[in-house]
């Protein structure tokens, strides 16, 4: 599903990832941990095609991201869901419109869209705020809308970057269960987190990064 071969990514004056080789099978759930600035976000961004590696190859669904034409990237992205660390919700739109957007982009019929959006908003407990502007939501609420948007179109791959950083323990539990359920339906999940609770609850394969290096890679598909 996802394969990285000797991937290196430099930024001005800092190495975000160095010589990383990794293989994630279809239907796996992988946790990525590591201290602040270890390269977790960079890793996820590379898989999503939001950054390009300086060196090495990245295969996602058997396509080489580094060689993909820029016009093909949107279509690859439509098969993935992404929960960003800084949310990236459209600020002038309501919760509903934000979650609906990936469906509009895919050209889904209005009827189908309505059902799917409501479903995923309910799953993260944000259905009661569907008509609210996202810019006025609390941080935890924004994070949940983000998760709803990522899962609304049943993606083949779900990438989540610190998805519970602004959530209380109870919600963290529920959201983690949601990720587990999505994974159980066959979606490949990669989850960057600092949260011990999440790590314990998922209890699956865990990759540990430090300063852009792969430190440990424990456990496989449970």
């Amino acid at each position: 599903m996802i394969q990285l071969f000797h991937v290196t990514k430099h930024y001005e004056g800092c190495i975000a990832l160095s010589d990383l080789t990794l293989r994630v099978e279809k239907g796996e759930c992988v946790l990525i941990t590591g201290p602040s600035g270890a390269g977790k976000t960079t890793l996820l961004k590379l898989i999503f095609g939001a950054e390009f590696p300086d060196d090495g190859q990245i295969l996602v669904q058997n396509r080489n991201i580094a060689r993909l034409r820029s016009t093909d990237i949107p279509f690859l992205r439509r098969t993935m869901g992404f929960v960003l660390q800084d949310f990236k919700l459209l600020p002038h739109k309501t919760v509903y419109e934000n979650v609906e957007l990936p469906l509009i982009i895919r050209g889904l019929s209005s009827f189908d869209a309505k059902r799917k959006v409501s479903e995923s908003l309910r799953a993260v407990g944000m259905d009661h705020k569907r008509a609210t502007n996202t810019s006025v939501l609390s941080a935890g609420e924004q994070q949940r809308v983000c998760i709803a948007r990522a899962v609304v179109n049943s993606p083949i791959i779900l990438l989540a970057d610190e998805p519970t950083g602004n959530l209380d323990p109870e919600l963290t539990y529920e959201i983690t269960e949601l990720f587990k359920a999505i994974n159980a339906r066959g979606t490949t999940v990669m989850l960057a987190t600092h949260n011990r609770q999440v790590v314990e609850q998922i209890n699956g394969r865990m990759i540990k990064l430090d300063c852009g290096r792969l430190l440990t890679d424990q456990g496989t598909i449970s």
Binding site: A50, I73, P74, R77, K88, H92, P102, I105
Partner: protein, 299 residues
């Protein structure tokens, strides 16, 4: 359907939300197109005026008071054979005197003291408008001068050349100004749209992350640019019309250029429509320029 609706709604939202930006865009576009329009209007009118002036290039052949009827018929025949001549009329001594009284009533006293009519009879020859009209005039003049019974031939060589020269000057001027201002328009609109763009940079980034194609992202901006440009073009038309009316009214009030006023005209309707269309196309082009330019930089 849903997608189309979304794109249209986005374009309208863009215009509404960035109202300041929209208004600036329209105003700058209007001003640019209007500055171009002023030249176009000037050119348009000078063309028609010089056109009608060139229609009236005249050679006046003054006849000897003692001309024989035979010489007169010979001269008339010669004029008829000349291909560059459009028409000719005969003005007798009496008609000339009447004309003089009519045209210069204040100077009429000049001729009062003199018993005899001092004005000669004449042929007034109108040259057919042609690119080389002025050279035809001078050859005709030298030919006719040699005929017997002709006292004097009058035509204004420089004046004809001057009009032709001015007309061609204006043509070059209008063309170059037109090109420069078109470029300026595209730049200004492109900058305006780029600003709208910068203001919504994050939105675009988010859309890309969700998997929107370049076209999907660009369309609302292109629509925005087109609407901006068209409104700017319309406004410039209004400005031009207003300015034109003021100028015309003043000219009429003062009746300084008496002969000219009748022929000052606004653009015909097709040209007006074309001006708005030009705004629309420039707006779209400006948008495209900045949208695609910007997208190229970003993944």
């Amino acid at each position: 359907m849903k997608r189309l609706m979304y794109l249209l709604r986005e374009a309208m939202r863009g215009l509404r939300i960035n109202r300041a930006n929209t208004i600036i865009g329209i105003i700058t576009t209007a001003f640019t197109i209007a500055s171009f329009g002023v030249f176009l209007l000037l050119y348009h009118n000078v063309r028609t005026i010089t056109g009608s002036l060139q229609d009236q290039i005249q050679v006046i052949i003054y006849l000897d008071d003692a001309i024989t009827n035979q010489d007169k018929s010979a001269l008339e025949l010669a004029l008829k054979k000349e291909t560059h001549i459009e028409s000719h009329t005969f003005l007798s001594k009496e008609e000339a005197l009447q004309d003089f009284h009519q045209q210069f009533p204040e100077e009429a006293y000049l001729l009062e003291g003199i018993g005899d009519n001092p004005l000669p009879a004449s042929f007034i020859v109108t040259i057919a408008p042609a690119p080389q009209a002025s050279s035809h005039v001078s050859t005709l003049a030298t030919q006719v001068k040699t005929l017997s019974g002709v006292e004097h031939v009058r035509y204004s060589q420089d004046w004809v050349e001057r009009v032709t020269l001015f007309s061609s000057y204006l043509e070059i001027g209008a063309l170059s100004v037109g090109i420069i201002l078109s470029l300026a328009s595209v730049t200004i609109i492109s900058n305006t749209v780029r600003l709208a763009f910068l203001a919504r940079r994050e939105e675009i980034e988010i859309l890309r992350l969700i998997g929107a194609t370049g076209t999907f992202i660009a369309i609302p901006y292109l629509i925005e640019g087109a609407v901006l440009g068209a409104l700017g073009g319309g406004l410039s038309l209004g400005l031009l019309r207003g300015g034109f009316e003021i100028v015309r009214d003043n000219i009429r009030d003062l009746s300084w250029v008496g002969g000219v006023q009748a022929s000052i005209n606004f653009f015909p309707i097709q040209m007006s429509v074309m001006l708005v269309m030009a705004g629309l196309i420039l707006g779209c082009a400006g948008s495209a320029l900045s949208v695609y330019g910007w997208m190229k930089i970003r993944t």
